[in-house]
Subunit: 262 residues, 2 copies
DNA sequence: AAGTGGTCTAGACCACCCC
DNA sequence: GGGTGGTCTAGACCACTTT
């Protein structure tokens, strides 16, 4: 006989709770209690069909519940696995402090190296374009054209973040900012050299399910939301000099802020 | 004939892309382009079965894709509807500033009133308990027992946030903090009166799919993630005096932080 | 070749909502 | 009562992974 009865119970077809929910409940509890550990393969659909005496669609339905919760993921031809918790990248609110800018390398690379991960940046694209609505609202409606700097960040080969910086064209055109490599300290260092001493950042944070495009770009498993962060940088004249739009795989990030209790 | 051809196309069963994904793509695009507006009912399963010439499960499968993306929600016996954008509550990083504490009412009530919404707080529970691991880590491992203050926040009848404050028992026991109504300015005002002048807050932000319990408590639609915020308050002695664990319906919130570019 | 999940069909019965 | 979504069955064929 199957060894499943040891880890899973039975279902009650007469219960008010749908059978596929009962199965999902049992699998969820087994995972929570560690009876299936991270990365471990769950019983196959066929095994569960046999164990519970239900049709295959019922079993698949219960898997889809767990996938929606981000608890498991399916691999075609291999099985359904307990989703391992991802290595988490911690983003501190002082990550743009001037003192971190003095070194040559970007915050992302330095940080990841320190954490023992292998960081990469790809899909670098720098181009002029028309400011979208969200960008124009934040840079000021007089800004029609912007320089957009897009890049994707990867950790140990896994895409974790996709970011686009938008800068008013009158500030960025024909400067080092418009080049793929903006040089040591990144674009913030260049902005300050251009006379735009940075004064403060506004950050807006939302969370939502990803669009199909985001699922592709970040290779997101089902049941993984994204954190959408929009940062606006202001210089000491109060002018918005950059809007950075960042979409992060939520299972890879913790954002940390330190606030004074003024 | 059905009037659907005007808003929806046809599918290609020989395509590599699964039929239910093609249908989901078309519905998504129609929604994005406003051919179905917020709150509007999508064609019924039966209509789509007829229009596309596929089985009902295929249509349902495409609906479930869109539900997972948080784009639509189904109402039993009524239909499938385009999810309206929720009224959004903006949480500013200075919401705990001392100047906001002088008034009598809680930040939540004042803010919501100002925004023209009807705020409520319920499920108020105040009790002593053993500090959980996450709480003990932040309050300091010497803190074994805590006072827990739980409450749920609603906006216009919709639950949007569930929060629990944990305070070291030696600070909170037998004070106004241990009462359901902690009085004007809330527990932070009481903490300061007790000699714990607040110095700073640490906030950690994560996003993930909700647990079944959170789905119930916040009456979350499928495809809506939660924002999980853990705030630790420190007094001027550097002691952690409160940990507040907050779970928010992600579609109801934007978190806003203002950071100095030091 | 065997086992796995991915897609799809064609039905069935039920529970809920609205007229 | 008629329309809607919710659940479930019992098959079928396919694509992918592993042996």
């Amino acid at each position: 006989m199957s060894s499943l009865p040891g880890r899973l119970g039975t279902v009650d077809p007469t219960s008010d709770r749908a059978v596929f929910r009962q199965i999902a409940d049992q699998l969820r509890e087994a995972i929570d209690r560690g009876r299936f550990s991270e990365g471990e393969k769950l019983p196959s659909e066929a095994e569960l069909v046999e164990h519970y005496g239900v049709s295959r669609m019922t079993v698949r339905n219960s898997f889809s519940v767990l996938q929606g919760e981000g608890l498991v993921h399916a691999e075609h031809g291999r099985g359904v696995f307990v989703r391992p918790r991802q290595p988490v990248r911690r983003l501190a609110s002082d990550r743009f402090a001037r003192r971190h800018r003095e070194q040559g390398k970007s915050a992302f690379l330095v940080e990841a190296d320190a954490a023992g991960s292998h960081p990469e940046v790809d899909s670098l694209e720098v181009k002029e374009e028309k400011a979208g609505r969200d960008v124009a609202v934040r840079l000021g409606s007089s800004v029609r054209r912007v320089l957009a700097r897009r890049r994707r960040y990867l950790l140990d080969g896994r895409p974790v973040e996709f970011a686009t910086s938008y800068l008013p064209i009158d500030i960025a055109r024909a400067t080092r900012i418009a080049e793929p490599d903006p040089g040591p300290g990144g674009i913030y260092a260049r902005l300050e050299e251009l006379g735009h001493r940075l004064d403060r950042f506004d950050e807006e944070i939302r969370a939502r399910m990803p669009s199909p495009a985001e699922v592709r770009t970040l290779r997101l498993a089902s049941g993984v939301p994204v954190i959408h962060l929009i940062r606006t940088a202001y210089d000491t004249d109060g002018r918005a000099v950059e809007v950075c739009d960042t979409v992060m795989a939520a299972d890879a990030y913790v954002l940390a802020y330190q606030l004074p209790a003024t």
